[in-house]
Subunit: 237 residues, 2 copies
DNA sequence: CCAAAAGTGTTGCAACTACACCCATGG
DNA sequence: CCATGGGTGTAGTTGCAACACTTTTGG
């Protein structure tokens, strides 16, 4: 409860950031959700903005706190400022307050009107080490293809994040940030297919990716199967 | 000074909106700037957010207050949240305070940290009727090709607005919103050239625009010149 | 006739799609 | 040999750019 108790002094009132953290795992595109202490309410990874901190830095900090990672792809995509986006959810807040054992002041601050800026983050599943923080007791990587009811307007934030992710896919080389250091060509294709929600023709896809001239092929190969092993690739310096 | 005097009660603290209002006039793309009372400081059209008003509605309201128009193209493009974007400009605020005869409380509120969401607006020059409001004594339609030093980080806001405008140009049919009800084909081309900052081949451009199938040609024509008069077009319903 | 406006035709380029086909490799 | 992975060739399409050329119309 440290963050919330210090709230009115250390943090900007009425302003928050919410990060949609994407990973690729088990052949699916997933995003990070956190469950509030002792409740069944799931939210995106959010946080407040320090009095002397830029909102972009706040998003970076929240991401580092939750994932243990620095230097990750992070991009702002929209500012959610509807009246009632959280004010109309006093019941949800009251439940959370009760569950996490907050004081009345905290609830007043939490349930006062907030404007939240949304960020898309893209990380390598194998490198993430999720820390729950003070208000959550569980986390989950949620498949984007399965609907899950989220806190407040976080479903809307997720939808807009997915649109932004697709827009950035080629220009910002999103797919390679979702994969480990080395990967096979079909893994790249699976990432693209998961993000675009469509299947792609293998031969044309490989030509497109290789023509970018950003990959180098590593001669070491997979072992195991009763057939040819796929090549491994990694990003050129 | 009405708005500012009521500030701490009626408006959300620390949050504002800034609108970059574009028009097409004298064959140039221009944006609205306002000069603070008795000063030489020029800013974009900004405003605060009502306690019970969504930020998108606040932007709409600011736009209606300044231009007299409703139902105009308006789109959010970025949330500016650097620490110091206005806090480091106490000198500018002190000058404005002096010029507009504000009380100390107002200055404290004004110069406290603000986070501002940027909006692009696109309007028909012939329909705009600019109202100065309480803190400005002059306005100007500024050519985007000429640099002008603006208040705080408003030059950066303008730059990002222009990028957004170009991105929306085709998808949101921006050009037709910058023109009056009826227009000639070469006027449309001039708008495109002003926004893109490049010249286009007439024949190919006309083919592209007409193939959109959104225009109808009006048989009435211009009068005057010693040559064929251009056709007039208007958007289909 | 001239000048400006409006429109057509054609050529070539680049990107993408679909699909046929071939080679490589490990068992 | 088979199954899987990796890659080439090619034909068709689409969109766009460049440019030549024709037609319309008012004076």
């Amino acid at each position: 409860m440290k963050n919330i108790e210090h709230s009115s002094k250390d943090w900007l009132p009425g302003i928050s950031v919410d990060c949609v953290v994407f990973v690729f795992h088990e052949n699916q595109l997933k995003y990070l959700t956190l469950k509030f202490l002792n409740s069944d309410i799931w939210s995106l990874a959010g946080g407040y903005v320090g009095n002397r901190e830029s909102i972009n830095d706040a998003a970076k900090r929240v991401l580092t706190e939750r994932t243990g990672l620095t230097n990750i792809f992070l991009e702002q995509f929209y500012c959610f400022g509807e009246f009632g986006r959280n004010v109309n959810a006093r019941a949800e807040f009251a439940k959370i307050k009760n569950d996490i054992g907050s004081t009345t002041d905290d609830l007043d601050w939490l349930s006062s009107r907030f404007i939240s800026t949304g960020y898309v983050a893209v990380v390598d599943y194998e490198k993430v080490n999720v820390s729950l923080g003070d208000v959550s007791d569980q986390f989950m990587w949620q498949n984007v293809r399965e609907f899950k009811q989220l806190f407040l307007d976080h479903n809307e934030i997720l939808d807009k994040a997915l649109v932004k992710l697709r827009e950035c896919l080629d220009a910002k080389l999103i797919a390679f940030r979702l994969l480990p250091e080395t990967f096979t060509m079909s893994e790249i294709q699976q990432v693209y297919e998961a993000i675009l929600g469509a299947s792609l023709v293998r031969t044309n896809f490989q030509r497109k990716i290789l023509s970018l001239n950003i990959l180098e092929r590593i001669e070491k190969k997979f072992s195991g199967g009763a057939h040819k092993a796929p090549y491994l690739y990694r990003l050129k310096k």
